[in-house]
């Protein structure tokens, strides 16, 4: 099973010991599931789940101009962040299509952290490094020494509170706020962010501390129904919450406007940014297609790459993500369709490997927490 070309996170042995089924993902061997995707999914929706997302890339930028360097490469407005605040954003190229989606953290005025997708690390590290060096900003790719653990679910903050006062204080943080603190005796950065549609925290720590932190959280979570959760549940959870997956729903052939990520593009922010003029033009001209959510009406599960057909059977779009939604209880998906077919209630057909299955465009997110 072991593939020598695959990297391992510091929690690899923990996953194996927990019975996690390990699969290759973005160059890492990662747990796709432990007890089963449905059970893990529902645990996150009703109690809490613990995810190892240490494969994500972490870039540290330090210096007086660090914030401006980042702001010039992203679509959202880093200039509005205060110390201890984070923002979700796209990073686009000159054409206005998406290089990656990121979370940018302002730790302090001159100390910033940028988290990128593991699959894009080789592209984003030189992208940010080059800009940083040009501006005299120190750049460090911290990915290989940093672990990232996501604690997600309605009980996530209660689990963190088992750590004591530092853990309890996380409940007072607003969404997308972060604290440099101590959890279960481990020095961490904890942020009120996530990729599941639930409340929770994402916790950065040094690789050497990851096992101690992982075990402490699992133990503290026992009484709260916490379960370790794998990549498969992470995917169904994010899909129900309509959070984009890079490589599926967005990539270098899609722009933020058609992807429904226009809210991350701040054309009027003070710092000019890469892709700004192209996106301005795209907005002025209007997009030809949109990423929509759909529910299967007939018996079938849409999968990435399945063609979307109009009423006459013409191929007009493509499914970018699809699976059963364990919480919504329906087979759901995302896909690009012509603007004229993007209205909620529009009937579409998904070509499931030759089987034509009816679907309907619906409002997203498919799931929203109460």
């Amino acid at each position: 099973m072991a593939d020598e070309t695959l990297a391992e996170t510091p929690l690899h042995a923990e996953h194996v010991a927990l019975g996690g089924r390990m699969v290759p993902f973005a160059g890492y061997e990662m747990p796709v599931q432990y007890s089963g995707v449905k059970q893990e999914h529902l645990a996150v929706r009703t109690a809490a789940g613990l995810f190892d997302v240490s494969h994500m890339g972490e870039m540290e930028l330090t210096g007086a101009a660090a914030g401006e360097v980042i702001d010039a490469l992203i679509t959202n407005n880093a200039g509005k962040l205060v110390d201890g605040q984070a923002v979700y954003t796209c990073a686009c190229n000159q054409k206005g299509t998406i290089l990656d989606d990121l979370i940018v953290y302002r730790l302090a005025a001159e100390r910033w952290l940028v988290v990128c997708n593991a699959s894009n690390r080789d592209k984003m590290v030189p992208h940010f490094r080059t800009a940083a060096e040009k501006a005299g900003v120190a750049f460090d790719d911290a990915s290989d020494r940093t672990a990232l653990i996501a604690l997600q679910g309605p009980k996530a903050l209660a689990v963190a509170a088992e750590s004591g006062d530092d853990g309890k204080a996380l409940s007072d943080l607003g969404p997308f706020r972060l604290a440099e603190t101590t959890l279960f005796g481990v020095k961490v950065i904890a942020a009120r962010t996530g990729y599941t549609g639930e409340d929770g925290v994402e916790i950065f720590c040094a690789n050497d501390d990851a096992v101690a932190l992982w075990r402490a959280i699992l133990k503290a979570g026992e009484a709260h129904g916490l379960e370790p959760a794998g990549l498969a549940a992470r995917d169904t959870l994010r899909l129900e919450a309509r959070l984009s997956l890079y490589g599926n729903d967005i990539d270098e052939t899609t722009n933020p406007i058609e992807a429904g990520l226009g809210w991350t593009v701040k054309l009027k922010k003070p710092t000019p940014f890469l892709g700004q003029e192209a996106i301005r033009a795209i907005k002025a001209e209007g997009v030809s297609r949109k990423l929509v959510g759909f529910e299967m009406v007939g018996r079938g599960i849409a999968r990435q790459g399945y063609p979307i057909l109009d009423g006459d059977g013409n191929e007009v779009g493509v499914c970018t993500s699809g699976s059963p939604g364990p919480t919504v209880g329906k087979n759901i998906g995302l896909g690009y369709v012509p603007v004229a077919m993007a209205e909620v209630g529009t009937r579409i057909t998904v070509d499931c490997r030759g089987r034509k299955v009816d679907a309907e465009v619906v409002k997203t997110p498919f799931y929203k927490r109460a």
């Binding site: 995707v37 449905k38 498969a232 169904t236 018996r299 079938g300 599960i301 699976s323 059963p324 089987r355």
Partner: protein, 129 residues
Amino acid sequence: MTDIKDDRRYTKDHEWAQAKDGEILIGITAYAVEQLGDITLVNIDVSAGDTVEAGKGFGTVESVKTLADLFAPIGGKITRINDKLEDEPELVNDDCYGDAWMVAIEGDEAAIADLLDPSDYEKFLSEQD
């Protein structure tokens, strides 16, 4: 240890065939179920009366994550399909060697002998992963 029954034969596509009461029942193995995870949809593309050829696809089994094609281990005429799986795909997770048979075929029972016997299938599984 993956469950393998002694009372039937197997294919390298992780299906089983069993002669029973004059027909041949076809299903998927515990190993296939483990690989797929939670089964959410069973699509049988044939109906009673249709003829299937050995090795040809007759449907798909889908889980949350992925899907697998069903291939006829032997040829013959479909006598019954398991309608229960349409509404209860999770039966495949619970009882893949029993209630969750997929189709029944009227065919050459001698052809079953050409499939993998339980020990050959076990050996084949040990070579996977």
